[in-house]
């Protein structure tokens, strides 16, 4: 009797100790989650606070007269005239009409610097779209120069950054502001243009298209190859030293630094097979090499998780091994395989280093339209902009990061959604 009372006391004593240990462990977990979440929060707050400005750009309202004498053309259908035309004169004339008191070479140059150097070409596009405007005058919002953009945004926020502007330019901006002729507008250039040396004209469409083309090729190559390899290794290959050797090496490949895949791609695809450099084909090939191990490993795990009883049932019915795999194993393993593929693709989307090796770091203004057009990709674009000296590229960089993160979030969310959607319970 006394012994059982004794035991009870011991159990009670150990119980408090165990409960305390459990409570402590819960707190460790909470703290770990908190640290992780705050890191993410800091990242997002920092990037959004720096990058949100890039989604707006400064525009100046001017009366533009599309006078054919100013441009120096007499026929809008003549392409040689169009190329030779002095389109910049349109915006310069409009500025001088607005500020007639400005005289002197350097003052005039400062005045012209209010507008983006691409303003003339925007006006040309406008005229080509509406030829009836020739020799007419219209009031139009014209893109401002990046230094003006930086100054005006910071001035609106109450912390004016005027280091790159002259007193006179600041005066003109004040004047325009008082007349409501300068304002922030949605920056459509960001989403419709390729890269540019001029920050106000730079957009990420080129990089987005480059990423999409590269990833489409990566998916088309890596998913079938990875899944076939996983099915063969898991279901058909004899278990011997060779398959062990292959398994070890697949795991090794998954841990190889990605820049080495870039060097491999440079040596094999570009130097040996003479695939053109800087194009989505070579990017897709290199990223395929890089994410194949991930896809093979996750696909094998998905195949392994299919209960053996289903295999036995199929074989017992007289299904061939191929039918067993095709009819039963593959449908059950597919959600896991797709999740793995999407995680691999997300990894590929964020990859920079190997692409630097195969020339996708080139400065490319044109938006790539096919697998053989020179292209760059989102993370490389971020790298390029972060590397640029112009202050206006700071917010562009953050904006590009936001676009990249958006794509990553969409991909990872769809991975979770697909898994939930396709998962079958048995």
């Amino acid at each position: 009797m006394s012994k059982s009372v004794d035991n009870l006391a011991k159990i009670k004593h150990s119980l408090t100790r165990r409960n305390r240990a459990e409570a402590r462990f819960r707190w460790y977990g909470r703290i770990a989650i908190f640290i992780g979440l705050s890191a993410v929060a800091v990242l997002f707050v920092d990037i959004i606070s720096k990058g949100h400005g890039a989604f707006q750009a400064t525009y100046i309202n001017l009366d533009v007269s599309y006078n054919q004498d100013i441009i120096g053309i007499d026929n809008l259908m003549d392409s040689t005239q169009l190329v030779a035309g002095d389109w910049q004169a349109l915006s310069k004339t409009a500025l001088r009409t607005k500020f007639p008191q400005v005289s002197g070479r350097s003052d005039k140059r400062e005045l012209n610097n209010l507008l983006s150097s691409g303003a003339g070409f925007d006006l040309k596009d406008r005229l080509m779209a509406k030829p009836l405007l020739l020799n007419e005058t219209e009031s139009i919002w014209i893109l401002a120069d990046d230094d003006i953009d930086t100054y005006y945004k910071s001035w609106l926020d109450g912390d004016a950054y005027a280091a790159r502007l002259s007193e006179k330019q600041i005066g003109w901006i004040d004047e325009l502001h008082q007349q409501d002729l300068i304002r922030l507008q949605l920056n459509t250039n960001l989403f419709t243009r390729g890269d540019s040396r001029e920050p106000e004209q730079a957009g990420i469409l080129g990089a987005v298209m480059g990423s999409i083309l590269t990833l489409v090729l990566t998916l088309l190559l890596s998913f079938p190859i990875g899944v076939s390899a996983a099915i063969y290794l898991e279901e058909f290959a004899p278990k011997n030293k060779w398959t062990d050797f292959i398994e070890v090496n697949i795991n090794n490949l998954a841990a190889v630094p990605s820049i080495i895949f870039g060097l491999l791609g440079l040596a094999i695809f570009i130097n040996f097979f003479h695939v053109p450099r800087s194009v989505p084909i070579v990017g897709g090939l290199v990223l395929t090499l890089m994410i194949l191990p991930t896809i093979i490993i996750t696909s094998r795990a998905a195949i392994k998780s299919v209960p053996p009883s289903i295999r036995e049932a199929a074989l017992g019915m007289g299904a061939s091994k191929y039918q067993m795999v095709l009819h039963h194993v593959l449908p059950l393993a597919l959600p896991g395989m797709l999740t793995g593929a999407i995680i691999g693709m997300a990894q590929a989307l964020g990859e920079t280093a190997p692409l630097l090796m195969i020339g996708m770091v080139a400065f490319i203004v044109d938006i790539p339209g096919s697998f053989t057009d020179p292209a760059t990709v989102l993370p490389v674009q971020i790298f390029l902009w972060a590397d640029s000296p112009e202050r206006a590229f700071i917010e562009k960089t953050s904006a590009a990061i936001m676009v990249l993160l958006t794509f990553l979030i969409i991909m990872n969310t769809s991975a979770v959604w697909l898994r939930k959607r396709l998962e079958r319970h048995w």
Binding site: K239, P307, S309, I310, R311, E312, A313, A314, L315, G316, M317, G318, A319, S320, Q323, H327, H328, L332, R424, H425, W426
Partner: protein, 292 residues
């Protein structure tokens, strides 16, 4: 004898001693000859001198037995005695096990099942199997039953397939319960219904022999009773070999009973005789519950 098997009998002896039972020699002679009536004049399948190895480990020692046509033969014996392994040699399911090797002569209607040119796919269409744990495919009830007919190309039209599905479900006495929900998942049925679905799936391809590996071990007594009923009905048209842990079940459903012990076939006799007048001391020890 491989060394892995040597300590098992001594464990059994200890167990018997612990229960306060008279010490008895439970070891098997190396030159054990199966007692009783191993052979049949009306054999569907004949097995001669079967040895099965898993790597270096021998699981079945020199077993010879006939399985008679349109009869139920029950395999009983303590866990690990090799009865499931033996059953799986009959449709070559052991082929799928890494390192498993089968020696001996197994014939169905005189045809050698281990002949190099024999296709296991055809064999498994002729020798169906029902597993211990109900394992319907995660597909609809209809697709489960229709699967075998589809892969073997047994039905030319949709109507034929419907007929095969209905007949198989009727034979498995499941039709009434599921006819309203043929296109719902088979995994949504109760355990007993799932096992009858698996039986329906197996008989849908009209096999000649059905192997059952402890088909009721995961089921409650009522579901078990229904399956046993079904086995009796099926034995009119099919040859059935069933492995069971339940001696009552063997007694209820089978015509002949084979007792396995440590990979050896000890005794084969008509079921009634095995349970009333076992010929071998080991059979007697097992059925009287002295070990197992």
């Amino acid at each position: 004898m491989s060394p892995a098997n040597t300590d098992k009998p001594s464990m059994l002896k200890k167990a018997a001693a612990a229960k306060g039972m008279p010490m008895q020699n439970l070891e098997v002679d190396d030159h054990q000859v199966t007692v009783g009536q191993s052979f049949s004049d009306n054999a569907k399948m004949t097995m001669r001198n079967i040895n099965v190895f898993y790597g270096d480990n021998q699981a079945i020692h020199d077993v010879s037995i006939d399985i008679a046509k349109n009869q139920v033969i029950a395999m009983i014996g303590p866990s690990g005695c090799g009865k499931s392994t033996f059953l799986r040699t009959l449709n070559r399911m052991n082929d799928t096990v890494e390192g498993c090797r089968v020696e001996g002569d197994i014939r169905m209607d005189g045809e050698n099942l281990y002949a190099p040119k024999l296709d296991v796919v055809e064999l498994r269409a002729r020798v169906g199997m029902v597993f211990q744990k109900p394992n319907p495919f995660p597909k609809s009830i209809y697709d489960n039953v229709a699967y075998g007919a589809k892969i073997h190309g047994l039905a030319d039209t949709r109507v034929d397939l419907d007929e095969i599905v209905e007949n198989s479900l009727r034979k498995a006495s499941l039709w009434k319960e599921v006819k309203e929900r043929l296109h719902q998942p088979g995994t949504g049925l109760s355990g007993g219904q799932q096992q009858r679905l698996c039986i329906a799936r197996a008989i849908a391809v009209s096999p000649e022999v059905i192997l059952m590996d402890e088909p009721c071990s995961a089921l409650d007594p009522i579901a078990t009773a229904r399956i046993e009923e079904l086995i009796k009905e099926l034995s009119e048209n099919f040859t059935i070999a069933i492995v069971t842990h339940s001696m009552q079940q063997a007694a209820r459903v089978s015509h002949r009973t084979a007792y396995f012990h440590l990979g050896k076939l000890i005794e084969v006799n008509p079921t009634e005789q095995v349970f009333t007048m076992p010929q071998h001391r080991l059979t007697e020890a097992y059925i009287t519950g002295r070990f197992g």
